[in-house]
């Protein structure tokens, strides 16, 4: 589903490569943690998958897309197969929960009847049925992240990228969000989550890819965050 082959990324303003000869392969339906300290290259990793950046060297494959070589006008197609969740939720403050989710479908031109049908379904899936007409600032952090996950998932992406999705949440709420991501993973969606959260990684016992200074230093199929950290 995701394959990086000897990928390096050097930013013009930096002397050290953000990623150096990274090779990782993620199968369909896997749940993978991407860990490492700040500046280890986690964000660059995710941005490469989204074609927010192009690699300096190497090949990035997502589903059938050769991401680096993708023509500009085909980039939206790639992004429609990837859902994204962030630490800061990125909801539109002037739109209700349902509108925020519907927005993701409106802007890719989905017909209105489809939107009306699938938005309540996905809100129910994330446990927000009954809060469709609330505004984001009327919700707790955990609920806001659920809206963001609903928005990322509503178009049934093949891959869900989560960049520190629990970074702003307390441990209990984080646990709920992880359960939700697991549930999404069980539908067959590949989930790739960048995180700093030891306890979550340790309790989930999923595949862990650890980056340090732009290199993969560990790839455990049932890993923990790390010993002595």
């Amino acid at each position: 589903m995701i394959r990086l082959e000897e990928v390096s990324k050097v930013y013009k303003t930096s002397t050290r490569p953000a990623l150096e000869r990274v090779s990782v392969e993620v199968d369909k339906g896997e749940f993978v943690f991407l860990i490492g300290p700040s500046g280890s290259g986690k964000s660059t990793f995710l941005r490469l998958l989204l074609r927010e950046e192009v690699p300096s060297k190497g090949r990035v494959m997502v589903s059938n897309f050769d991401v680096a070589k993708l023509a500009r006008r085909r980039v939206p197609r790639l992004r429609q197969t990837i859902g994204c969740v962030f630490q800061d939720f990125r909801l539109l403050a002037n739109k209700t929960v349902a509108e925020n989710v519907a927005f993701a479908l409106e802007v890719i031109g989905k017909p209105r009847p489809t939107i009306r049908k699938v938005v309540p379904e996905v809100l129910e899936l994330v446990g927000l049925d009954g809060k469709a007409d609330r505004l984001p600032n009327e919700l707790s952090g955990g609920e806001q992240q659920r809206v963001a996950i609903a928005r990322a998932f509503v178009n049934r992406p093949l891959v869900l990228l989560a960049d520190e999705p629990t970074g702003n949440l307390d441990p209990d709420t984080s646990q709920d969000i992880m359960l939700l991501l697991e549930r999404i993973n069980r539908t067959g969606t590949t989930v790739l989550m960048a995180t700093h959260d030891h306890s979550i990684v340790d309790s989930m016992r999923r595949r862990v890819v650890e980056l340090q200074l732009g290199r993969v230093i560990r790839d455990d199929s049932r890993g923990v965050y790390g010993i002595g950290r």
Partner: protein, 297 residues
């Protein structure tokens, strides 16, 4: 493409940034009104040329001896001049106007100024040969040829006078075009700035749109349309400016006697559609270029 979605984005965008929107629209309107003024000046010049150039004549006024004695150009001095003119290949027709006819015309022209009529007797006016040329632009040869010939007092080319009038109009036209250009630059910069501000205030939305895989059309069309809508409103306002100027000022000058009238119809067609087209094309191009340069996709 969902029209209702794009349309609501456009309206929100314009309302969010209302002062800039107004500035943008007004500048566009003034620029277009100037352009429209220039276009009307061009039309007026063309119409005047069509009206007058067909009529212009070279007037050869004759010496007193002829003016006093020759009622119908039958005497030798005037007759040979007329013969020579008639044989000239550049001349279309020659008409003799004797002193009495000149005086009658003079009375008609200055009917509203009796003092002037009282002071002027027929003896002050010369008889003349009114020469119509096949090509009014080639009067120089005739003037050169007949100035100083026996019996000729003075050769006047009406076209020279008309040229001065046309020069005034050409000047007005050029000033209007230059002003239009300057205002257009201001309008352009305002459009570019408005789009940038608009894109900045909506960066979260645009960011989300990009992430969920909205095409360039979806993310950028609202901005582009904002510029075009402002352009259209500007063109309408510019046309209204022009019509108001026409009604309040131009109509009293361009009465149709000397200067041809500017009709409302002329302002509405072809000037208004031209302004609209220019405005839409320029604002769309400006919007597109701005988005290319400043807004990442």
């Amino acid at each position: 493409m969902r029209a209702s979605f794009v349309f609501s984005e456009v309206v929100t965008g314009l309302r969010r940034n209302v002062t800039m929107t107004i500035a943008m629209i007004l500048t566009t309107a003034v620029s277009l009104a100037m352009l429209g003024g220039g276009l009307l000046a061009v039309r007026t010049i063309d119409k005047m040329k069509a009206n007058f150039l067909a009529e212009v004549e070279v007037s050869i006024s004759l010496v007193d001896q002829v003016s006093a004695n020759d009622k119908n150009c039958s005497q030798q001095l005037c007759g040979s001049l007329r013969q020579s003119l008639q044989n000239n290949p550049g001349v279309e027709s020659v008409v003799y106007e004797n002193r009495d006819q000149a005086y009658q015309r003079f009375q008609k022209i200055f009917a509203s100024q009796p003092e002037l009529l009282e002071l002027t007797g027929p003896e002050a006016l010369p008889a003349s040969l009114q020469v119509k040329l096949k090509d009014p632009d080639r009067s120089d040869a005739i003037i050169k040829q007949y100035t100083g010939q026996p019996g000729v007092r003075k050769v006047d080319d009406q076209k020279k006078f008309l040229d001065r009038v046309f020069n005034v109009f050409n000047g007005v036209r050029n000033i209007a075009f230059v002003m239009a250009l300057i205002m257009a630059v201001a309008a352009l910069l305002l459009i570019a700035n408005t789009i940038q501000v608009s894109a900045f205030t909506r960066r979260t939305e645009v960011g989300i749109m990009r992430l969920v895989g909205a095409t360039r059309w979806y993310t950028q069309l609202p901005f582009l349309l904002e510029a075009v809508v402002a352009g259209v409103v500007g063109a309408v306002l510019g046309t209204v400016f022009l019509l108001l100027t026409k009604l309040s000022f131009l109509d009293s000058v361009f009465t149709g006697e000397v200067f041809p009238q500017i009709t409302t119809l002329e302002v509405l067609f072809p000037v208004a559609p031209i302004l609209l087209a220019v405005s839409v094309v320029i604002s769309a191009i400006t919007g597109y270029v701005t988005l290319r340069l400043y807004v990442r996709h």
